[in-house]
Amino acid sequence: MIRAALKSLLGRKVRLLMSTFAIVLGVAFVAGSLIFSDTLNRSFTALFASTVGDVVVRPVGGTTADGAPSTVTLPASLLDRLRDVDGAARVDGNVNAFGVFVISDRGKVVSGFGPPAIGGNWSDAPAGHGLQGLAVVEGHEPHGPDEVVLDERTAERAGYAVGDRVVIIPSTAVQPEPGADFDSLRLTPTLVGIAGFPSGGSLNGATYAAFDTATAQDLFLGGEDAYTDVWVTAADGVSQEQLRDAVAEVLPDGVEAVTGDDAADESASDLLEAVSFLTTFLLIFAGISLVVGAFLIVNTFSMLVAQRSRELALLRALGASKRQVIWSVQLEAFVLGVIGATLGLGLGVLLAMGIRALFSNFGLDLAGQPLIFAPRTFVAAYVVGVVVTMAAAWLPARRTGRIAPVQALRDDVALPESSLRRRLWIGLALIVVGLAVLWLGLFSDLPHGGWQTGGGILAILLGVAAASPVISRPVLAVAQAAFARLFGTVGNLAGQNSLRNPRRTAATASALMIGLALACTMAIVGDSAKASVDRSVEENFVGDFVVSNVIGTGFTPAIGDRMERVDGVQRVVRERFDAGERDGERQGVSAVEPADVGSLELDITDGDQSGLSAGSVLVQRSWADDEDLGVGDQLTFEMPAGERTYTVGGVFEDNPVIVWPVLLTLDDFVDAGFPETDNVLIVFTDDSPGIQDRLDEVVADLPVVTVKDQAGFAQEQRAPIDQFVRIIFALLGLALVIAVLGIVNTLALSVIERTREVGLLRAIGLSRSQLRRMITLEAVVIAVLGALLGVLLGVGFGVALMYAVRDQGLEVISVPFGQLAVFLVLSVVIGVLAAVFPARRAARLDVLRAIATE
């Protein structure tokens, strides 16, 4: 029995391999995302382990939103006290600052959008557990104000070698002396050394520039003899915990000691959380391609089983039991699943490498980190591959059990089919359940709304797929009539063929439907998001220009000062933002000068402008509603400089210019311990000619800071959406490829099934080109059906999604009809392409042999 099953598998290699392709892709997504996230994990854990000491002494709440050191420092005197602690082998003070950009030899900023640009003091202190941290691998350590050390990858990317003059812009640096030139912000030290991890590994795309301690203090701490944190190295035989406890006893209030292990875990988990969306994302696509793949497998197995029904009946006649026949089909599915999973695993490795390369484009450089293959990756790949394949083959396999042995003796064996009516009801039930779940996910306050939304969409898609043989009949009938009119007999035959087995036509179209439905949903979400951004920028953009840092980090207030003095500038509004903690959660805050609130044209609905004053804040409408806050309520934050409590003095309508929902005064912001750097400048001018050029000139030496008018600002706001939509389209493109293969497969199988009929048509005079046209038209019917269903569902999903989030700042629902039309046209093209191979095959059939085929 097993041999019979395997033999028949071998006899149908090509066909089965095509349907395996879907499994391969699905498994590849699963394996690729697991491999990548493991690799990411390992590399960050390794990186952070070698960037902390045995015990780290730091100010409480001493880091800001993006992990940058705050302005609260530790005095040098603390180091002496720490040296006397029992078990401390050595004590090293560190000065670290973020936003210290290295400019390449071509004048470009060397950095991505995620990893920080770090500046600091060079230290040869050992990392925790005696690990060697960064070490100078070439040249020597920096001494004096004119020497710097860069990490290997940064030096390489920037194109600098030891001995070169390097351009560094510490954009967060405190203000230069009044009247001093901007050149003081633009450092040009000599590169004297290259730092690296001697045991391998990299900074994962972060850039690191190190000076000697005095220079770093000058540059980043305003010359204060202080440190941002201190490493205490344990003496032999002293554990990190023991040392931490001993150190804690001598610390003043507001300073804490943590073990290196804890500090490393903290940093790593923060970062990993930030990138975990990607893993989720890839797994969702794995799910999509597996669902689409399952359709193809059901279809392929149904057809293969139908073609073999006589053979299976013969096996029954020879004494095989029902179960044996069913399991022989399942065995084929198992083997197919194993093959698919193996190929998928291989492709997954390539995919992980691809993602790694993609990320290094965005600055997250993992080149030094080999890919990690955890056992669970293998388990997941094979379980997913085999389970999905066998589950999908189960329906057709079960049907083989109903073949009666006597059918072996009959000429035309028809496989018993489940009734279409039952399918219709099951489909409709699924659609109703899906709609209900989708509604819950979108419009109720249940937690995990995302799951319900996704589940609802999936249920509706499956429901439509199940019901599609019935609901697509009118479409097919119209297509048939249209074809008959347009293409005569050939069109009529093609139309009839698509109607002949509505299950098959519908199942094949369903694969395309799912991919297109999701593509349309994303097209609508993306388009609506962009339209909302445009509208909100248009409504809320005040002033004439916005000045901000490419990465959103702060820059020196000196830029604002300069711009105020530019001819034609009437007013410069400074906005700063950062994050503190509220109820244990990170919460971003913004800050402006109270005098500037008027010119920002905030729509203050409760309270008024005077609500923004010392100790009193304005909050954004949607956030106030979520947090149930009103004028007069108290807000308590854990800020870098300690606990701060503010009174809500007013509520304003959401406004993209104010990035975070809580608006402080600049004085309160500085008092909270945040760095004195501006994040956004809003410049009001008299619109005199050449004004933008004059503003550009101010930041000419600072390539990280750009000046944008309204269009440029909107463009910048839209860019992430565009990028997001592009990535999703690329992934959905793969789902479409699977669907195309599905059409190819179905057509190829149905041509084989109809060999005799094809032979007859050729015998009575159908020419090869007419035959090709007939099969192409069949493919087009399938593709158009799938596209119609997909676009309809996608528009429904997209509009529903956007409607659900309309009060979260995305109030415009925009349907990109042009794009949808492109999808429809594309589906016709897909149909034509999918028919090429099966049509050629049919045209090549030998007429006589085709007719003689049983």
């Binding site: 009529n492 109607l499 005799r756 009929e757 159908l766 006589l848």
Partner: protein, 257 residues
């Protein structure tokens, strides 16, 4: 019995098909089978010809070669004034479409089309205008009545084969080939189909060539050509069932056992 290599139709008629020195072999060496061994034969226009012979005599191969469904190793097949062994696929397709009609043992109707659509299919494929008068008379002889709008699976075997015959006749081909048209039918349905072919010959001068091994079917024809081992070995004109049986018995006796 004499070895006969050339059979000519009665003087004064133009042959619809001419076969000259047709040879076809399958396999090589020990396994070499001569399906057709230098066959020369004329098919008279307006006649009903039966090709008979035991299994493996080459009768089906002969018909397939004449009908442009199969190619021979050597020799010529003329349909009208064309040597079809020299034609390319396109021309062959056109030939099959315009000059030849087929009736198969297993009906071979297109299951998605109605009886009427099946009958009109060759003309529809060719994009030719339907000769309505001719179509009406064909349909009338086929005698399907109200079942013209039915799909093949709603028709009996005899009805399906009558539709197949109508399809072959409808495009007024030069010659109709029928491959054991009664093989899958009971005797009554078979008789109806044979009557139909006979009528086509008598009333409309249609040329029909039929492969069969049923002496009853052969008795409907004007002429029976007997094949054995790929060669034409005998022929009868205006045969009766007894005469046909007689020849067949003789041939069986000559076959070394």
């Amino acid at each position: 019995m004499t070895e006969v290599s050339t059979f000519s139709p009665p003087a004064g008629t133009v042959p619809a098909a001419r076969v000259r020195g047709l040879t076809k072999t399958y396999g090589t060496g020990q396994a070499l089978v001569r399906a057709l061994d230098d066959v020369t034969l004329d098919i008279a226009a307006g006649e009903f010809t039966a090709v008979m012979g035991p299994s493996g005599s080459g009768k089906s191969t002969l018909m397939h070669c004449c009908a442009a469904l199969d190619t021979a190793d050597s020799g010529e097949v003329w349909i009208g004034d064309q040597d079809i062994t020299r034609l390319k696929d396109k021309a062959l397709t056109r030939l099959r479409r315009d000059e030849i009609g087929f009736v198969f043992q297993s009906f071979n109707l297109v299951p998605t089309l109605t009886a009427e659509e099946n009958i009109k299919l060759p003309m529809a494929i060719a994009g030719r205008r339907l000769d309505q008068a001719w179509y009406d008379s064909v349909v009338a002889t086929v005698d399907l009545g109200d079942r013209l709008g039915h799909k093949p699976n709603e028709l009996s075997g005899g009805q399906q084969q009558r539709v197949a015959v109508a399809r072959a006749l409808a495009s007024r081909p030069r010659i109709v080939f029928a491959d054991e048209p009664t093989g899958n039918l009971d005797s009554r349905s078979g008789a109806e189909v044979l009557e139909l072919l006979r009528h086509a010959v008598d009333d409309h001068g249609q040329t029909v060539v039929m492969v069969t091994h049923d002496p009853v079917a052969a008795a409907y024809t004007d002429r029976v050509v007997f094949l054995a081992d790929g060669r034409v070995v005998d022929e009868l004109r205006d045969p009766t069932r007894e005469q046909v049986l007689d020849v067949m018995n003789r041939m069986a006796e000559q076959t070394p056992s």
